[in-house]
Amino acid sequence: MKKIINKPNDVVSEMLMGMVKANPKLVYFKDLEVIASRVKEKKVGLVSGGGSGHEPAHAGYVGKGMLDAAVSGNVFASPSPDRVLKGIQEANTGEGVLLIIKNYSGDIMNFGMAKDLAEMEGIRVEAVVVKDDVAVKDSTYSTGRRGIAGTVFVHKVAGAKAAAGGSLDEVKRVAEKTIANVRSMGMAMTPCILPGVGKAGFTLGENEIEIGMGIHGEPGVERTCVKTAAQLAEILCGKILADYDFAGSECAVMINGLGATPLMELYILNNEVEKILKENNIKIYRTFVGNYMTSLEMAGCSVTLLKLDEELKELLDAPCDTPALKV
């Protein structure tokens, strides 16, 4: 295992310390692994989080116009309820707190318990669950769709609404509107190694890729041979467009790298995605290309589409100033 780390057990806390050293606007709560904005404004608080290993998500999105606190679990493991509770306390300025949860049963359980605990303290807490990954069939019975890169759009939109003084209900409404209108599909080319495990959890052959793999290396929908960028764009967009009708609408696009995929390749993919969307009569309003929701050093990518209306456009364009996203 080749990683720039010290002890595997310390990666999360050392990472977050390194992060606040580079970003003086953030404050770090040790042991609880919470990153919060140093300066607090009276407004609805936004809290997200989840397992570590998805950097810059979520701590990189703490700052003006996005999150107020991010809670980190160990690598790929949900943060425990006491950590999430601390995040809620830090984000709370009396206007209530919205939890943005990715749809993993671990996160649902830990954030759910923290919500219970915070409410016992008299903090008003609402929660939304992001489930944008079309690789998985949705279902009310099972856990259903995972939350992946589309979560960043939820942070952005809800963050803008909160910054604009929206009430908890209003912030929750735009977050849910975003969730209803966002779809993602990813693929992986190499596995990643958990620092505490030391070897890859699965292998992919020399010329093999996996369509629909999750950001924790959860198995995808199909193993296939290496494709061209054009074919990949076709597959990923195809799945998204089959799931939700984007035709005739305006969209935000996110081409997201999983960690080890060079920006060069993400831009090449964007070039292909744009062609497909154009062919499908979808207007691109704004495009984001980069590593927004990663999976340690996994090579691969995801494509996210968010259908926009005037309200979402305005919220997407509102200024934000965080380590990982500045608009």
Binding site: M109, G196, G214
Partner: protein, 212 residues
Amino acid sequence: MVICITPKEYVEYIELVAKKIEENKDYISELDSITGDGDHWANMNMGFQKLLECKEELASMRLNEMFKKIGMLIMTTVGGSSGVLYGSAYINASKVILDKEQMDLQLLCRVLEAELNAIMDRGNAKPGFKTMIDALHPAVERLKNAIEKGLDGKTALIELKQGAIEGMNSTKNMEAVKGRACYQANKGVGHLDPGAVTMCYQIEVLVDYLCR
């Protein structure tokens, strides 16, 4: 055989579980790699190592306080699904212990049942979902039956263990409904659920320890 578990003994049992988990790193990691995200061993190991660190403190506590503390320690150190599930389990169990100084077979049964209920509640899950519940649920059922039938302690404990083992094995052919294995095309069919395996370990170790 008369069963009577004090905090000191429970901590001895925890030590044995920690050892058992430590020894099965590759197997458990592998199982969670196949059906989940590969961290179940790391999660459980971190939790039990933490309990080891606090063993003196734990052994000196009252039984119900010890259970609550174990729950808090697991909940705060582990994270992941197993952290909150075991955390909820132990905290809930502490409530049925009341002010008892030690556990007899009847109380052990109620404790395990309280753990089971807490896990099902927090996980919003039932037997048959291919989770740790599938090892714990039949184990508790068979222990309850044995006690009702008035079987002797040792036999009842063997029933508990057999229930866990068979329950664990039954997860092999189940389709996952909750947890990360449900994201697989085949819902993890053909592989044991890692959480069921570590749950089974704990019950096995408990029974072996009590029958030593």
